[in-house]
């Protein structure tokens, strides 16, 4: 799907701008152009915002790094970043001028007059999607955490009275993690999954609550969520 999108925009770019862009994976070019847009290190005078993939960067001219971006320009920043996510693994930098005109740098090239949603004739860089090897490593790591959660879920070490989570929740049935957040009547407030896990540890299991970032809590959550793969999210369902 990404391939069609890229080739689609490539085609559009060719037609619209009449520029034929050669795919370039020269990272030093990219860096140079990025630097040019961002400004030299000692002239860091503009506010920079990264996207969550750490590959898309928007530089907002006229806003100092310690200042908040005004709402309309912030919305534009967000629109730009979200739009650029269609170029999944690319490193792209956009500079938004004080006149709202935008300049894009990617793969060592500069493109003027970009608007979010508009054509951007960037060709995918080569380092692409996760490899099979990477995915299997990541899965092994997840399985390890889920297995630890499985072990804790079925053990009597979580509680203080020998009751295990699995006694009332075989295969994590009736845990319904996909329905959180919801008002949890036992807590008399809106709870997240881990709030309810802690409540169960404290009450039916007569144990000690876990800190939210306790590795045991993370493992339990991982196990519970893994049992409910494929269930649609349904926050607030009772």
């Amino acid at each position: 799907m990404k391939a069609t999108l890229v080739s689609g925009s490539l085609l559009l770019g060719t037609i619209a701008l009449g520029i034929f862009v050669v795919s370039a994976s020269d990272s030093s070019d990219a860096l140079r152009t990025r630097r040019a847009l961002v400004g030299a290190e000692d002239e860091w005078a503009s506010r920079a915002v990264w996207a969550c993939d750490q590959r898309k960067l928007v530089v907002v001219e006229g806003v100092r790094p310690d200042q908040k971006i005004p709402p309309e320009r912030a919305q534009l920043v967000a629109d730009v970043l979200m739009d650029l996510m269609r170029f999944c693994n690319e490193e792209i930098t956009v500079r938004i001028g004080t006149n709202q005109m935008m300049t894009v740098a990617a793969n060592g090239k500069v493109y003027e007059n970009y608007v979010p949603g508009g054509p951007l004739p960037i060709v995918k860089a080569s380092f692409g999607e996760p490899t099979e090897r990477e995915k299997s490593i990541w899965k092994a790591e997840l399985d390890k955490l889920v297995a630890e959660g499985d072990r804790l879920f079925h053990s009597d070490e979580i509680g203080g009275n020998g009751v295990a989570c699995a006694m009332c929740h075989p295969n994590a049935s009736n845990t319904h993690p996909e329905t959180y957040p919801k008002f949890q009547t036992q807590l008399k407030k809106v709870a997240m999954l881990r709030d309810m896990v802690n409540w169960c540890i404290l009450n039916p299991l007569e144990g000690k609550e876990l800190a939210p970032d306790d590795p045991k809590m993370r493992a339990l959550e991982a196990y519970i969520l893994a049992q409910r793969r494929g269930k649609p999210l349904d926050a607030g369902k009772h």
């Binding site: 020998g162 699995a166 929740h169 075989p170 295969n171 009736n174 036992q186």
Partner: protein, 379 residues
């Protein structure tokens, strides 16, 4: 109209000669839609309770669609049950111990006392001698005689050695007031431990996990089936049979061992008999089924409730709503079974923290499913 010194029989006769108001109410129970029925039946139950029709702990909600229709079969006798106590030997303040004692107190408060008390299996949690002894000590307080049945939690630490020593054979039969009772060990598992070199404790831990798939499925097994055939050979086909079994004796949900591998074969042995009821534990919930001429009733646990299985729930079961974990007694309880004159049973669920429920032979035998075959969402 009703006096405290009346015997149960006198009360029932007095009730049969109903007042005009009662008659009108019963009339309104017929041919009404479900919602209206529930509202009026609650009123009816309140009146029945108020009229001290039923003794002590059993203020029973009448769950039958047509109370006035059909002859009241008449109750021949009653037995009570306590099941699935899953005791740890951690003293009387442990929540499972409190619950087991509560059940014993409930049964002892019954007036008149039941003919006997069935213990439905899983007395201990990890099959340990101290747990079994603790359970035996608690059950000793029961005034009525006790019939024991074994569950997998009692068995797999030492393959039943301690159980047999303390409570006798794991399968046996007896006759009582014209009914032939059979008690089975239906939690036999094919050996899964020797090849893997599991210790007894490991074996017990695996079996004690409902969702632990390393264990085998439950079965009655060929030796016991042979024994059953031979035991039933001398029984007249018209004699009512009541089977006590820990697992359901039908195939509900294999991953949780709500299952008996040779269920069809066991049912085939029972099929020739006119009236067969199976009372089983293990499932810790209100569970009802009917296969051919056999009616199946599950027992409540005193220790904790199970959720309903994701699939395979019998259409005859009207689910209990999921329990509140704040309340350690919710979804748990004990109860009793009325054995009717013709040998069928009415099953009373004495839920703690909820209104009691009754599942009657009449509604199970009916052609249409009770409540239109209600099936709530499995949770």
């Amino acid at each position: 109209m009703y006096r405290n010194d009346m015997t149960r029989k006198q009360i029932e006769r007095a009730f049969a000669e109903r007042s005009a108001a009662d008659q009108r109410l019963l009339q309104s129970l017929q041919n009404c839609d479900r919602r209206h029925f529930l509202r009026t039946s609650l009123k009816f139950a309140g009146m029945a309770a108020a009229a001290s029709l039923v003794p002590s702990h059993a203020f029973q909600l009448v769950n039958v669609a047509h109370a006035a229709e059909g002859a009241d079969p008449g109750v021949a006798f009653r037995f009570a049950y306590v099941s699935d106590s899953h005791l740890y030997a951690r003293g009387m303040t442990h929540r499972f111990a409190r619950a087991a004692v509560k059940a014993v107190e409930d049964v002892n408060a019954l007036d008149p006392q039941p003919d006997f008390v069935l213990f439905g299996g899983d007395l201990a949690q990890l099959g340990r001698a101290d747990e079994l002894a603790f359970g035996q000590q608690i059950l000793k307080d029961l005034k009525a005689p006790v019939r024991m049945m074994v569950g997998e939690h009692d068995w797999y630490l030492d393959l039943g050695e301690k159980w047999k020593e303390m409570f006798g054979p794991d399968h046996y039969s007896f006759d009582h007031k014209g009914i032939h009772f059979v008690v089975l060990n239906s939690v036999v598992e094919k050996d899964f431990w020797t090849a893997k070199g599991y210790t007894p404790e490991q074996r017990m831990a695996i079996v004690s996990g409902l969702d632990d798939s390393r264990q085998s499925s439950f079965e009655v097994g060929e030796p016991q089936r042979a024994w059953l055939k031979q035991d039933l050979a001398k029984i007249d086909k018209k004699t009512p049979i009541i089977v006590f079994s820990h697992s359901p004796l039908y195939k509900l949900y294999k991953p949780w061992n709500f299952w008996t591998d040779d269920a069809e074969q066991v049912q085939a042995i029972l099929k020739p008999f006119q009236t067969v009821s199976v009372i089983h534990g293990h499932t810790h919930q209100l569970l009802t089924n009917r296969i051919g001429n056999i009616q199946f009733h599950g027992l409540l646990s005193t220790a904790w409730p199970w959720p309903y299985a994701p699939e395979g729930l019998p259409a005859y079961t009207v689910q209990m709503f999921r329990p509140d974990p704040f309340n350690q007694f919710d979804g748990c309880g004990d109860g009793s079974v009325d054995v009717l004159a013709k040998g069928r049973v009415n099953k009373h669920y004495n839920f703690w923290s909820r209104n009691p429920r009754q599942v009657t032979a009449l509604e199970l035998a009916g052609k249409s499913l009770p409540g239109g075959g209600y099936q709530g969402p499995s949770y």
